[in-house]
Structure formats: structure tokens, C-alpha cells
């Protein structure tokens, strides 16, 4: 020990004993340590990855080409787009990004970038993937660090970046489209304003019913059960669960019923004596329900638990427990008395039909729903408290409630939620500190962030939560600050409104709930913008009176509205006159009188050259293909000019049609038209499905 001390002290003396020697020794040490800096600079992280890339490339068949591409620019690489403020140095380490021949390499960071609709040099990397572009170390580039908040976007949300520029739906971004759809459908924007870069705001697409007259329609017990758990009544209900306590639900239901004002004519008492009449056929109600094609818009959950039907109107699985029979009768007679803005068409059912349907729907009950709901008569204090609760929870943001004004900005604005600074977010313990995780957790379970929060619990599947998160992540600062030339705006919604009596009829029958005309409406049923050029008048009028089956492969059909002859003629006149295409005149080709030779040639072409029977039926005995409409009566249905132009280019007549464009020459098209125009069918109407 002592000798060690001696050696140490003598060493110390040698090195630092004399000031000059001490200075020299320290300077030498300093110089050596200074060499660390350039050494670290040379042995940098990105150089290590580039060397690994070269090692990977060396053993391959296309090594020479890849090496040449690499050496044309080794060192630090960047994609620099000054106008967009993009400096992305990702290609320094991700050296193989642009090499198509590296498609079989699986290890990052040498993988080829998958095929996308933009080139890498167009927008750089960070626009889509976030992260820190100027960085050349993995930690700084990919992760959230002290100097840079925004980490790389997880792959599951990458479609959100497309949404920064593309406001219109894209084929390549189904998750984003679904998310935007859900934002409207679940009514998020009733409470959370979301402004778009062009100054407009996202509009909700759900139709929460007015509660100003709810006592006419429903009972207090049902309102109570609904408030406690909407999904117990209808699994597809988009109304969220506010997790109300029993007293709160009791008070709110008391207020809503007490606050309700009646509307004249929205209830129709059962005719005396009719109550005891049994319908002659017990399945008549179900048949009428089916013939009216209510399932095109309304869904019902069947015994197996599957929800079958459309989602335009509310689910009817337990509607008998919800609505009062007298209200239902009046509603089925004319829905517009109770709700003038409803999407439900005015069916013009006869009284016996109304009774049948009311009885049928009234049987759709669930005894468990209201079994344990026993409410005493409401006191004025409870009603007042209910009003207070309704104001506090912001029910009027979605529902019209008389006496309560719709609040503005009830919930925080989400216009730039995708770029929210992390310092402004309170995370739950154990959560990853990143915006996507925050948004997803908030949507999945809002009250986990605090039991006093007002945001209710939505019942969303994991894929829906991801889709909503994707849609919200696309609302970034960049989306709003982009130069206009780079954005792809969405089509402005059309507010086309047909005029005159036909227009009133169309509003009464709510044609736009299913059909699209001049850009307004839904895509559930065919686009009628040029219907006047495509169909023959007698057929159209007959169809409107009695819609038949055109496409046997589909389950949705046009319902039968029991139109009067006058109404049908009015509509037919309007359609034939107004909805014509400017491309051709519908009478430019005759509907009959084609030479037999041409008809025969058309038949040959139909079956052999073009093999149309794979999708269309002309002769029911021989043909079976039902992808497209049956053509047995097409000569009475469509105009010759339409058939001719359709055959030449289907997508020009109806965008998105799946009929392939055969690039047909004139002669073939005319021959096929001649053949098809001879298909007049029998005089009997086609059986309704």
C-alpha cells in the first residue's frame, strides 16, 4: 500500500511537479481529448448505417448499379423544398428508399419505399410521417426529444397525413374516409367545432331528433331507460352514454316530458272497434314491411344478433317499447306532421295498411328494457333540476329543445388538434406522450381523464376509434397554412332543389334520401340526373306507380309509394322534360324498326364476341348472369340513343359504373342496340321481389 502510494506520488511529481511540465502535461491531455471531437464526427451514426447499406448491397446481383447510385451522392443526403419548408435528411440512413430492386429487402433502414401515389421528392418524408426532418441521428429523428416534440407517426395513422391536403375522399385512404364519415355521423361536430381551411366548418350528417314534442311520441319511462343506456335499446344507436346517475336521469326525463308541447295532428287514435279486429293473415304485417322495403333505411337486429338493414333511419328492433301506437299511426300516415325535415318518405299508405304496420311494429318490444323502470310523478324541483342538467350537459348542442338555446362552442374547438403542443395536454399515468395516443384514449374512454368531464362515452369498435383518430390527426397547422395551390378541395355540397309541384312531390317522397340528382342526394339508388334521356316515358310512369325489380342481385329496392295517377304523371313529366343529358337527343334513334339482319348480328355479338350473358340476362331460359340489370324488357325501358351511348362509354353516362368500356366501334354498338331494342319482354309486369 505504501509502495503504491510512493509510486503514485512520484508519478504525480514527475508529471506535474514543475509548473512548465504540468502545463505541458495538461495541454497534451487536452489535445488528446480534443481529438475525440473529430473522431466522433467521423464515426457518426449515419455513416455506420451507410456502411451497413454498402455491406448489404455488396452481395447482391445488382451491386454495381446500386453502388453507383449510392456513390453519386454519399454523405449526408437531404430532400430540400424551400417553398414548403421541407428539409428531410432521412435518405442519409434510409439509403435504399428509391431503389426498386430492393423490393425483397425486409430490414430497416434499407427497405424500398412501398409504391405510393407521390414521389419522394415531391413532398419529402416528414409531411407524411412526421418526426424531425433535419436530424441525422435516430433518436432525434424518430422520437420525441427535449429539442423536438413530434415523434414519427405510427403506421396505423399514416392516412391522416393525406388528409392535410386532400379534403375530398380518396380511394387510397379508406380509414381516413371512414373517420371523416364518423365525425359527421356520430355528431362530434355538434359540440366540437372543426373549421376547415376555406373558412367553412365540418357539418354533421346525423339527424338528432327534436325533443320539443317528445311527450307525444314516447313515454317518460322509455326516455329514462334511453338516457341510462342508449345501446340497450338499439345497438346501432349513435347517441353516446352520459353515465347519468339514477336521480339525474329521472330529473332529465321529468324535464323533457314536462317541457314538451303537443303538435296538432301528430297522434291518431285507433279507430273504435278496430282494436279487437285480428288481421286475417298473421304474417300480413311482416309482408307489408317487406314490400315497403323499410329495410332499405331501417335496420333490425335478428335472432342471431346480426343487424340487417340500412342505417339511414333509426333501428327498429325494439321500437314497440319506444313509441306510442297513436303517434306511430299518425307518423306512418304522414311523417311530415311531426317532423317537417325528416328523411322518411310519405308513403301514402291506406288506413288498413297503417294499422297492419303499426301492429307489426308495435310487437317489436323488449320486456326487459322497461321492466325495472318505475318513476313517481315528477316534482317541480326535479323538473327544474332536470333543466339545469340539460343545460350543463349540453343536450341542446344536438337536440332542439324548446326554451334552451343551442350553445356555441360547447366543447373545445378541434380545428388544429393534430398539431396540439404536448405541453397543453394532460396525459394519464403510463400513457405514451404522443398526440395520437392522447386522441385515441380520449375517444375510447373520455371519462378516464377525469370523472367530472362532460364528454360522454361513445360505443365505438377499435377500428372506428382508429379511423376517428386518423381523421382528427389530419387537422394540423400545416393543413391550414398550406398554399391553396397544393390543396385538393372537396366538392361543395349541392343544394339543388327542384321547383314546382314536382319539386314538392320529390320533397314529400324524399327522393334525395336514396337517389342523387345534380350532385345532391345519396348513392344508395341510381343517379337520376339524366334519367329523362335514358328511359321511355310509359315505362317510367308505370314504374313509379309500381316499382319492379331491375337488379335481382341486390337486396334494396325502390318502395311502392301508392302514388296517384296524377302524382305519377307529374313526376314523369318533370323527369322527362328536365333530366336530359346535353350529350345527345334521346329521340335520335328509333325504338323499333331495325333490320332483322342487324338484329341478328347484334345477337351474335351479344353472345359470342362480347359475352354479355356473363352479367346480363336476355333470355331467361338460357342466361343466368345477374351482375347487371336484366335486359329482358330493356327495349321498353331504355331509349335506343341511351343504349348506344352507354355501350360506347358507360363511365361517361354514369361515373363509377362497373360495366367495362369495350371501346366498341360504331357498327357493333348499333347492332347491339338494335338487338336490345327488340327485347320488349311480355306484357305482364315483372314480379315484385
Amino acid at each position: 500500500m505504501q509502495s503504491l502510494k510512493n509510486t503514485f506520488s512520484s508519478l504525480w511529481q514527475t508529471l506535474f511537479g514543475h509548473p512548465v511540465r504540468a502545463f505541458g502535461a495538461v495541454s497534451l491531455l487536452f489535445l488528446i481529448s480534443l481529438a475525440i471531437a473529430p473522431a466522433k464526427n467521423y464515426f457518426s451514426e449515419w455513416r455506420h448505417y451507410q456502411n451497413r447499406y454498402l455491406a448489404l448491397v455488396r452481395g447482391r446481383g445488382d451491386a454495381v448499379t446500386l453502388q453507383r447510385h449510392f456513390h453519386e451522392h454519399d454523405g449526408i443526403q437531404q430532400i430540400w423544398l424551400p417553398t414548403l419548408g421541407v428539409v428531410d435528411r432521412c435518405t442519409t440512413c434510409h439509403a435504399g428508399l428509391k431503389e426498386a430492386s430492393l423490393a425483397d429487402v425486409g430490414t430497416q433502414p434499407f427497405r424500398q419505399h412501398p409504391v405510393i401515389p407521390h414521389t419522394l421528392d415531391q413532398f419529402g418524408c416528414v409531411m407524411c410521417h412526421r418526426g424531425q426532418g433535419p436530424a441525422t441521428t435516430v433518436e432525434e429523428a424518430h422520437r420525441s426529444t427535449a429539442a423536438w416534440e413530434q415523434p414519427i407517426l405510427p403506421a396505423r395513422y399514416v392516412q391522416s397525413s393525406c388528409g392535410q391536403c386532400h379534403r375530398a375522399p380518396l380511394t387510397g385512404t379508406p380509414q381516413l374516409n371512414l373517420g371523416r364519415n364518423l365525425l359527421g355521423r356520430y355528431g362530434c361536430v355538434h359540440c366540437h367545432t372543426i373549421k376547415l381551411p376555406d373558412g367553412s366548418a365540418i357539418k354533421p350528417t346525423d339527424v338528432p331528433p327534436s325533443l320539443s314534442h317528445v311527450a307525444d311520441k314516447s313515454t317518460r319511462e322509455w326516455v329514462y331507460a334511453w338516457l341510462k343506456d342508449p345501446q340497450a335499446y338499439a345497438v346501432t344507436a349513435t347517441m353516446p352514454n352520459f353515465k347519468l346517475s339514477d336521480p339525474d336521469a329521472r330529473d332529465i326525463s321529468a324535464f323533457l316530458i314536462a317541457n314538451s308541447t303537443p303538435i296538432a295532428g301528430d297522434t291518431a287514435p285507433v279507430a273504435p272497434g278496430a282494436k279487437n279486429q285480428k288481421p286475417p293473415d298473421p304474417t300480413a304485417g311482416a309482408s307489408l314491411y317487406g314490400e315497403s322495403f323499410c329495410a332499405s333505411c331501417h335496420a333490425v337486429q335478428n335472432a342471431a344478433g346480426n343487424v340487417v338493414g340500412g342505417d339511414v333511419g333509426p333501428e327498429l328492433t325494439r321500437v314497440g317499447s319506444k313509441v306510442k301506437p297513436e303517434w306511430l299511426r299518425a307518423w306512418l300516415r304522414n311523417p311530415r306532421v311531426y317532423d317537417s325535415q325528416t328523411l322518411m318518405p310519405h308513403y301514402r299508405l291506406t288506413d288498413p295498411q297503417v294499422s297492419l304496420l303499426t301492429a307489426f311494429l308495435g310487437n317489436k318490444t323488449d320486456s326487459d328494457l322497461l321492466a325495472n323502470v318505475h318513476l313517481d310523478a315528477a316534482t317541480p324541483e326535479q323538473v327544474a333540476h332536470g333543466k339545469l342538467l340539460v343545460t350543463e350537459y349540453g343536450c341542446a348542442s344536438c337536440h332542439e329543445i324548446s326554451g334552451i338555446k343551442k350553445p356555441d362552442n360547447f366543447a373545445p374547438e378541434l380545428t388544429r388538434i393534430g398539431s396540439k403542443p404536448l405541453t397543453q395536454i394532460i396525459f394519464l399515468p403510463g400513457m405514451t406522450h404522443a398526440i395520437p395516443d392522447y386522441i385515441a384514449a380520449k375517444i375510447r374512454e373520455p371519462r378516464s381523464f377525469g370523472s367530472a368531464l362532460k364528454m360522454p362515452q361513445f360505443s365505438l369498435a377499435p377500428a372506428q376509434v382508429d379511423a376517428l383518430t386518423t381523421a382528427l390527426l389530419s387537422l394540423t397547422d400545416r393543413a391550414h397554412d398550406l398554399p391553396l395551390a397544393l390543396t385538393v378541395p372537396s366538392k361543395p355540397p349541392s343544394n339543388y332543389q327542384p321547383a314546382g309541384k314536382a319539386g314538392q312531390l320529390m320533397a314529400d317522397l324524399t327522393c334525395f334520401s336514396c337517389h342523387a340528382i345534380n350532385g345532391r342526394g345519396s348513392d344508395m339508388a341510381p343517379d337520376l340526373t339524366w334519367e329523362g334521356s335514358s328511359v321511355q316515358r310509359p315505362w317510367l310512369q308505370a314504374f313509379l306507380k309500381n316499382p319492379g325489380t331491375l337488379r335481382p342481385a341486390l337486396i334494396r329496392r325502390m318502395p311502392r309509394f301508392n302514388l296517384s295517377d296524377d302524382d305519377a304523371k307529374e313526376l314523369t313529366d318533370y323527369i322527362m322534360a328536365v333530366y336530359q343529358t346535353p350529350a345527345f337527343d334521346r329521340d335520335s334513334m328509333p325504338s323499333s324498326g331495325y333490320p332483322p339482319a342487324q338484329v341478328e348480328q347484334g345477337k351474335q355479338l351479344f353472345y359470342s364476341k362480347y359475352a354479355c350473358q356473363s352479367c346480363h340476362i336476355v333470355d331467361t331460359k338460357v342466361d343466368k348472369g345477374y351482375v347487371g340489370p336484366t335486359l329482358t324488357q330493356v327495349g321498353s325501358r331504355l331509349t335506343a340513343a341511351w343504349i348506344y351511348h352507354w355501350l360506347k362509354d358507360p363511365q361517361a353516362m354514369r361515373p363509377g359504373a362497373i360495366e367495362p368500356n369495350r371501346n366498341m366501334n360504331d357498327e357493333d354498338a348499333r347492332a347491339l342496340t338494335a338487338f336490345l331494342m327488340t327485347q320488349k319482354g311480355s306484357n305482364k309486369q315483372e314480379a315484385k321481389k
Binding site: 471531437a37 464526427n41 435528411r89
Partner: protein, 264 residues
């Protein structure tokens, strides 16, 4: 007889080139050694002879020297940094990133500059405390203490102005807080605030102003006062070293030729 390295050096010092550059010739006589210091433009501020006890570690802990050393490091790293840095608003932050990621040894340069700055502030305070506790401010050294305080202020101002230059959140808010404190001064506060920032908030004007202060005005002022500080040390009789403080140099390690005087 083998020539020693010392002999070779003596020969070198006798050549015409050497004499032309350094003007003081060969020889290790006291005169020659004194001339080597006194005729050198960089060193002639120092006295040619010092008391050994001024050189001992426990006298000053070399804090003043270290402070000056960090200042030299700061100037030496600061100037290369100026090659890459644009004091304009979006560019400043991008340049800091580029220094960190692209410039060869840029990260080292920046880090060394920043660490030296923090070290310098620490050392300045330590030097101030050491001077105080030693009593090295006593007459005739009172005015040097005042100069020292001025140098302390300059150091702090250099640190404060330099803090804004990376233009990140830390910089922005630090300067915002500091300038808001300045605006709390009664009577003149708001004017001082406006003068500091060239505006009412920290913006491009503030950045440019701070850059000019940090790179030009304050260093020049610092050099001026450092020169006065060193000159005062010289004139006040060198570093203050109490008689009881030990000498560092052991008797046997002193070069033989220099022995023979009380002063070394």
C-alpha cells in the same frame, strides 16, 4: 560531445530568421529572458518577473486564468459558429439544427461554446469569491475590484444575449421573462424593455439586436475591460499573495542558471 536539445535551441535562437521575428536573441541571462516577455506584443502586459508565491495554486486556484481561458475558448469557438449562423428568424433555429446534424464537428463546437459559457459564469463568481475571501480587494486594489464587477456584468450580459441566439422555446421564453423583469423597473421600465427588444415582444428585431451585442459590442467592451483589469494587476504590484502562503516551486527543480537572486 553530444549536443543537448537546449544547445540546439540556442543555435536556433541565434539564426537570422529567429532574430528577425523575435528580436530578442539567444541566451538565458536574466536580461534575455526579461526581453522575451517585455518585447512581445502579446505578453508585454505581464511583468517580466513575478513572485513565486503568486504562482502557487492555493493563492488563487488559478481561477482568474481559467476565466480568461474560457473566454478565449468562447471566442475561439464563437467565430467558427458565426460562419454558419444567420441571425434571422426562421433561419436561426434551422442553422442550429444544421450545426448539430450536418456540420463536421458542429455539435462539438456548439456544445463546447455553451459549456464554456456556463463554466465561465461559474468561474467568474468563484474568482470573485476567492478575491473577496483573500482580501485581494484591499488598497491599492480597490479599483480593480470595480473593474472586476464590471467584467462580471459583461459576462452575465454576454451569457444572456447568447442565450437567445438558438431561437428555440428555451431561448424565447428566457429572454421574455428577463425583459419582463426589466420592464418592472419603475419610471423607465417600459422604455428599457422596448430598447432591449426593439419591439414589444421578442421578435426578429430582438434577435438581431442581441446578435450584434453578443458578437461585436460586448466582446469589444470585454476586451477593453480585461485589458484594464490586467493592467491594474500589473500596476498594483502583481497578484496579491499573503506572506504566509507557500511557494509552489521546490528548490531543486529551479533551472540552475536562474539561481542567484531573491527574485526568480
Amino acid at each position: 560531445m553530444a549536443k543537448t536539445i537546449t544547445d540546439y535551441f540556442e543555435e536556433l535562437r541565434g539564426t537570422r530568421v529567429w532574430r528577425s521575428v523575435f528580436r530578442s536573441g539567444t541566451g538565458s541571462s536574466t536580461l534575455h529572458r526579461a526581453l522575451a516577455v517585455q518585447q512581445n506584443v502579446f505578453l508585454h502586459l505581464f511583468s517580466t518577473k513575478v513572485r513565486t508565491r503568486m504562482l502557487s495554486f492555493s493563492t488563487t486556484w488559478y481561477l482568474g486564468t481559467l476565466t480568461f481561458g474560457t473566454l478565449l475558448i468562447l471566442v475561439g469557438t464563437g467565430i467558427p459558429l458565426m460562419f454558419y449562423y444567420h441571425p434571422s428568424v426562421p433561419q436561426a433555429y434551422a442553422d442550429t439544427k444544421d450545426l448539430q446534424f450536418v456540420v463536421s464537428s458542429g455539435l462539438f463546437l456548439r456544445n463546447l461554446h455553451r459549456w464554456s459559457a456556463h463554466a465561465m459564469v461559474f468561474l467568474v463568481f468563484a474568482h470573485m469569491f476567492k478575491v473577496f475571501y483573500r482580501g485581494a480587494y484591499r488598497p491599492p486594489r480597490e479599483f480593480n475590484w470595480v473593474i472586476g464587477v464590471i467584467l462580471l456584468l459583461i459576462t452575465l450580459l454576454l451569457s444572456y444575449t447568447g442565450y437567445l441566439l438558438p431561437w428555440d422555446q428555451l431561448a424565447f421564453w428566457a429572454i421574455t421573462v428577463g425583459s419582463n423583469i426589466a420592464s418592472a423597473v419603475p419610471v423607465m421600465g417600459n422604455k428599457v424593455h422596448f430598447l432591449m427588444l426593439g419591439g414589444n415582444v421578442v421578435n426578429a428585431n430582438a434577435l438581431l439586436r442581441f446578435y450584434v451585442l453578443h458578437c461585436m459590442i460586448l466582446p469589444l467592451v470585454a476586451i477593453l475591460f480585461v485589458a484594464i483589469h490586467f493592467w491594474r494587476i500589473r500596476k498594483d504590484g502583481g497578484l496579491y499573495a499573503h506572506q504566509s502562503e507557500p511557494t509552489t516551486v521546490a528548490a531543486e527543480s529551479v533551472p540552475a542558471a536562474a539561481k542567484g537572486g531573491q527574485f526568480q
